[in-house]
């Protein structure tokens, strides 16, 4: 096995966004269950939150491959 500490950091950095994305979609499902007619609006907002949470990991992914 080869590789460096970057990859361990990459794995660790996936935890935060993973939890965040889970919370976001849990809230989305809860919201739709309470008010099914608002599903369209809620989905757009949820995707926005998902994207912002995911961005953290994506930036880490890029940096992990850039920094040697």
């Amino acid at each position: 096995m080869d590789g460096n500490l970057n990859l361990i950091g990459l794995g660790l950095s996936a935890i935060g966004p993973g939890v965040a994305i889970g919370l976001i979609f849990a809230a989305l499902i809860g919201g739709i269950a309470r008010q099914p007619e608002a599903a369209g609006t809620l989905f757009g907002r949820a995707i926005l939150g998902f994207v912002l949470a995911e961005a953290l990991f994506i930036i880490t992914l890029a940096i992990a491959f850039v920094i040697k």
Binding site: G44, I47, L48, V51, A55, I58
Partner: protein, 266 residues
């Protein structure tokens, strides 16, 4: 590297000792010829495909749409209604629909190359193809803001929040400038690139790893190899969703930035 070639390469290596996991190098394919790479050909092909599809679906447009016209109108309606109108507002959104529509189609087609048999290379796994798209989106929302508010008006609109005590503006204005103007094109680029890059790498890893384990000669390893292939299939389905979602998100964010830039002061 297309997956079939990657599997073949892994099969050759199986005879030697040790498994070499695919890395970023799988995107560096040999040139097809005369400085042209496979990704270049695929991006060119995507333009032809999109043009062909749109011309074919709008050519004999009738009030009662046929199958092809319905498909084209569905995609167009999706971008116009759920992305552009929702984010930009019903007053100015039609000006930006052509841009957003072509952006969406271009990204969707180029992403799905990653899963089409025999092509199997998402051309947006190379970051160079995304940078111009993000740059165009960046210039578009800044241009739209300047068109609406004037040069200084736009930068005031984008960086000075309302209802904040004046002494804290010293801290807030640079932060808002950074997050609203500077960072946006970078996150747009990196998000799409990271998803396509990581997805392709994951598929290649399962395919080559599975092939290596199957040819290891050990029965238990063979079982795990089959499991790896099954996981590869499952990940392909995940990629089907991710590829669409990333095109949607890129277009949605471009539309949101435009909508924010031309929003009225209140």
């Amino acid at each position: 590297m297309s997956l079939t070639a990657a599997i073949a390469a892994a099969s050759v290596k199986a005879g030697e000792s040790g498994f070499e996991a695919p890395n970023a190098g799988i995107f560096n394919l040999p040139e097809v010829g005369a400085g042209v790479t496979k990704s270049m050909l695929l991006v060119g092909l995507s333009a032809v495909l999109i043009l062909g599809f749109m011309i074919a679906s709008s050519r004999k447009a009738s009030v009662v749409p046929g199958r092809l016209q319905f498909a084209g109108e569905m995609v167009y309606g999706f971008v116009r209604n759920t992305i552009a109108r929702e984010s930009i507002g019903s007053e100015h959104f039609m000006k930006f629909v052509p841009f957003l529509f072509s952006l969406f189609l271009f990204i969707v087609v180029n992403n799905y190359y990653g899963i089409v048999p025999l092509l199997q290379l998402p051309s947006f796994g190379r970051i160079g193809y995304i940078v111009p798209l993000a740059a165009i989106a960046w210039l578009t929302f800044i241009g739209a803001g300047i068109w609406k508010h004037g040069f200084f008006g736009f930068f005031k609109h984008a960086t000075v929040p309302h209802g904040v005590p004046s002494w804290i503006l010293v801290l807030l204005v640079p932060l808002e400038f950074l997050s609203n103007i500077v960072v946006r094109p970078f996150t747009l680029t990196l998000r799409l690139f990271g998803n396509m890059f990581a997805g392709h790498l994951l598929l290649a890893l399962f395919a080559t790893g599975g092939a290596y384990l199957l040819q290891d000669g050990n029965l238990v390893h063979g079982g795990v190899g089959i499991l790896a292939f099954l996981m590869g299939i499952a990940v392909s389905f995940l990629e089907l969703i991710v590829m669409f979602l990333q095109a949607y998100v890129f277009t949605l964010l471009a539309a949101m930035y435009i909508g924010e830039a031309i929003a009225d002061e209140h």
